[in-house]
Each structure stands twice: as structure tokens, then as C-alpha cells.
């Protein structure tokens, strides 16, 4: 279990770095391609609650330290741990579905994760708007929030179907008896 948790943390770290080199999708008005939420949501549905919280802290802090200029006072490091926590808890609540180990349920969970992805961006947008006391709104903003969710509808199932064999390979099979 710990080995799988560490693998997820390493994958999240690697994905953050990989994302730095992915240009935004100009067809979707500059929406970003995000791998991190899909991996994080897999952790939320597969890990026990304490490790899910640890993964939330790690992901949120890394998000802020890698992506948010810390000279800003309007979005200090640590805020994203709370931003990730909400959707993370929703996904963790769906863990019983994950434990049924049926591919169609895993696919459904991946798509729910994709639907929750825009909420991460919406929460960040809301925090910035409140802190800067200005609700700047345009169609670009809508695409920046919804676009990553649309892209995740494709990415998230792939991530889920890759991570399940990985967890089995590392000996973590939640809800399944150990193969002899």
C-alpha cells in the first residue's frame, strides 16, 4: 500500500513537470492539459482515508509551489490543499464502487473525476476573484475552466486503466484477496 502511495506521489510529481512542457490547447481557447487530477482522483478512490489526505496535502502543496508565483499574496502556498480536498472527498466517498473492480465502474469513476476537474479551476478562479476583488469574466475564462475537464474525459479513463495494473503489480489490491 505504501509502495503504491509513493508511486502515485512520484507520478503526480512527474506529471506536474511534464505538464510544464505541454502547450495549452489553442483550439479550446488556451485550456490546459492536466494529468495530475486524474492520478490524484485515482488515489482518492483506491487509497485508505489517511493516505488520501496525505496525497491531497502533497498534491496541493506541489501545485502551489510549482505553478503559483509565491510573491503573490492573493493565492498563498497551501490553499490548493483545500481546493483539492473537496473533490477528493467526493471521489473517496465513491470508493465502494471502485472496490467492486468492474471495468465499467472504473470508467464511470474516471469520468466523474474528469467532471470534477473543472471544479479545481473554478475554485482557484473564485479565490483569485475574491482576493483581487474583481470578477473578470469572458468566454476565455469559461473555456479555461471547462476545457481541462473536456480533455480529462479522454485522459482520465486511460490513467485509471493504467494505474489499476500498476497497483496490482506493486501488490496493492484493495478489496481483492491476495493471489496465491
Amino acid at each position: 500500500m505504501i509502495r503504491f502511495f509513493l508511486s502515485l506521489a512520484a507520478l503526480i510529481f512527474g506529471s506536474f513537470l511534464f505538464q510544464l512542457y505541454l502547450p495549452p490547447v489553442l483550439l479550446l481557447k488556451g485550456a490546459a492539459i492536466l494529468f495530475v487530477p486524474a492520478i490524484y482522483f485515482y488515489g482518492c478512490v483506491s487509497l485508505p482515508f489517511p493516505l488520501m489526505l496525505a496525497l491531497t496535502f502533497f498534491t496541493g502543496l506541489l501545485n502551489d509551489l510549482l505553478l503559483v508565483p509565491q510573491a503573490n499574496v492573493d493565492y498563498p502556498a497551501g490553499v490548493s490543499t483545500l481546493v483539492y480536498l473537496g473533490p477528493g472527498l467526493i471521489m473517496h466517498g465513491l470508493k465502494p464502487l471502485f472496490l467492486k473492480h468492474r471495468w465499467e465502474l472504473h470508467w464511470l469513476l474516471a469520468e466523474i473525476g474528469a467532471v470534477l476537474t473543472p471544479f479545481l479551476l473554478l475554485a482557484q478562479y473564485a479565490i483569485l476573484s475574491i482576493e483581487r476583488t474583481e470578477f473578470f469574466y469572458s468566454d476565455v475564462i469559461v473555456w479555461r475552466i471547462l476545457g481541462p475537464g473536456l480533455i480529462s474525459l479522454v485522459i482520465a479513463p486511460c490513467v485509471f486503466f493504467i494505474l489499476t495494473p500498476l497497483s496490482h503489480m506493486l501488490g496493492y489490491r484493495p478489496g481483492l484477496r491476495l493471489a496465491r
Binding site: L17, P24, L26, Q70, A77, G78, L128, I141
Partner: protein, 267 residues
């Protein structure tokens, strides 16, 4: 509720509060240290990206030549490949010559740096450069190219630094419009990115007589940016209820930044 769950919630809450309460300088230091750790990965990524870009550019040129010289295609393939490579080399030499000329003529002491990554975060516009505290870089130093202002340094590691780009909403620069008495504040918008920068000048007078193409320069107020740095040109101007607002076409191509200069001090 299980005791392990309660303990986990308590530890999580304490850690979050501790991180939130850290002073800003400590967070900047933490960020600098993290970027320092990952700088080898960023440098490698930048080199790979450059190699891939070079190959792609070369192939594009080959395609164009192929269309023009169909009947000589096979015979000239080697020649065209060589030509393409030389073109790339010439462009690189020209670019470096321009940069060198700018560095020598500038009234400031400039430190050249290479952009090693462009962070594509949704709401923030930053890039990482290949120089840090060991080269004399500190926070709030202005970053420019031969075309104009790029942004300012916000986080410094030992040999990397994070630059907040002018397209970011949180970077506000006092400006003046060349040939007028108009002054204002320029910043990006939340919808702005280095690929589609959207710069706005606010706090202009309602009667400002601005026309497209007028030059926008730094005013030098605040002490971070020296006065007279070129930012861009006015695209359009409109008078609102309380102020005049203008949009600006940035002078620097922020999406294709390669080499920049950090202003260390005035000569």
C-alpha cells in the same frame, strides 16, 4: 469514527494551517529550493524541446522546397537538408548578434539568461530562467529582451529563477505613453496567457487622446522597473465612466521566449 481517521484529519489540519501561516519570504525560499532541485530536469526538458523544435522547423522547410523542386527532389535532397541546417544556424547567429548588440548598447548592466521552461498554469503566467542567486539575481529584478519588457523575478534558486511575465494579472507596471503626459498602470487580465497576451492600461485620463500604435513605456515609479523600457503599442482606447482604458499589443513574443536579460543595475 476510527482513531486513525481522527489522527489523520488532525495531522492534515495542522499541516495545512502551518503551511498557510508560513511567512511569504519562507514560501518564496521553499519555492526557490524546489526549483533548484528540479532544475536539472527543467534544463534537460528545455534542450529536448529545442531539439524537437529544430527538427520540426527543418522538416517544414524541406516540405516547402520539395513543392518548388519536384523534378529535382531526389538529387537535391541532401543539399536541401544541408541548406535547412545552415538556415537554422544563420537565424541563431542573427538572434545572438541582436542580443549581443542590445546588451552592449543598453544603459543597464544586463545578465543574459536562457528560458528553460514556461509554466502553463491556468491563472498564472511565469517562466523559469537559467540564472539564480549565484549569478547575482534577486527578487524584483526586471527582465527584458531586445524587444522590450518581459517581467520581473519573483523566486530565486541558486542557479534558476522564476519570472512573472507581464501578461500576468498580478504584475502591475506604471507606464507612460510616449509623446503624451498620460500615465497609467498596465497589467494582464485573468484570461491572458503568454500565448494570447491580453494587456490593459487602466487609470488613464478620460480625455486621453490615444491612437493605435503609440508606444507604451515604463514610467519608473515604484523602483522595480527603470523608466523608458518599451512594453508595447496601444491597440485601442476607450473612455469609461471614471477612467480611460487602453489595450496593448506587447512588444515581446512571450510564447516564444528563448533568451532574456536580467537588469542587474544601471551602468
Amino acid at each position: 469514527m476510527k482513531s486513525s481517521t481522527i489522527t489523520a484529519i488532525a495531522i492534515f489540519a495542522v499541516l495545512v494551517v502551518l503551511v498557510l501561516l508560513l511567512p511569504r519570504a519562507t514560501k518564496q525560499q521553499l519555492q526557490g529550493t524546489l526549483f533548484q532541485w528540479i532544475s536539472p530536469v527543467l534544463r534537460t526538458g528545455a534542450s529536448v524541446q529545442q531539439e524537437l523544435g529544430g527538427v520540426r522547423g527543418g522538416l517544414k522547410r524541406l516540405d516547402e522546397l520539395e513543392r518548388e523542386n519536384q523534378e529535382l527532389k531526389l538529387e537535391n535532397e541532401q543539399l536541401r537538408a544541408t541548406n535547412s541546417l545552415l538556415n537554422n544556424l544563420e537565424a541563431e547567429v542573427n538572434r545572438l548578434n541582436r542580443a549581443l548588440g542590445f546588451r552592449e548598447q543598453s544603459p543597464f548592466k544586463l545578465l543574459p539568461a536562457r528560458v528553460i521552461s514556461r509554466e502553463s498554469a491556468t491563472w498564472w503566467n511565469t517562466c523559469t530562467i537559467s540564472r539564480g542567486s549565484k549569478d547575482g539575481i534577486a527578487t524584483d529584478m526586471a527582465v527584458v529582451t531586445e524587444s522590450g519588457l518581459v517581467g520581473k523575478v519573483t523566486t530565486v534558486g541558486r542557479d534558476v529563477a522564476v519570472v512573472l511575465l507581464i501578461s500576468d494579472e498580478s504584475l502591475r507596471v506604471s507606464i507612460s505613453i510616449e509623446g503624451t503626459q498620460e500615465q497609467g498602470i498596465v497589467s494582464g487580465t485573468r484570461a491572458s496567457s503568454s500565448y494570447a497576451p491580453d494587456l490593459r492600461i487602466r487609470f488613464l485620463s478620460k480625455t486621453a487622446n490615444l491612437t493605435p500604435g503609440m508606444k507604451v513605456l515604463t514610467a519608473g515609479a515604484g523602483g522595480v522597473f527603470p523608466s523608458g523600457l518599451f512594453i508595447g503599442t496601444v491597440k485601442d482606447y476607450s473612455a469609461k465612466e471614471l477612467e480611460g482604458v487602453a489595450s496593448v499589443m506587447p512588444a515581446v513574443d512571450l510564447a516564444n521566449l528563448q533568451d532574456v536579460f536580467v537588469i542587474l543595475r544601471q551602468r
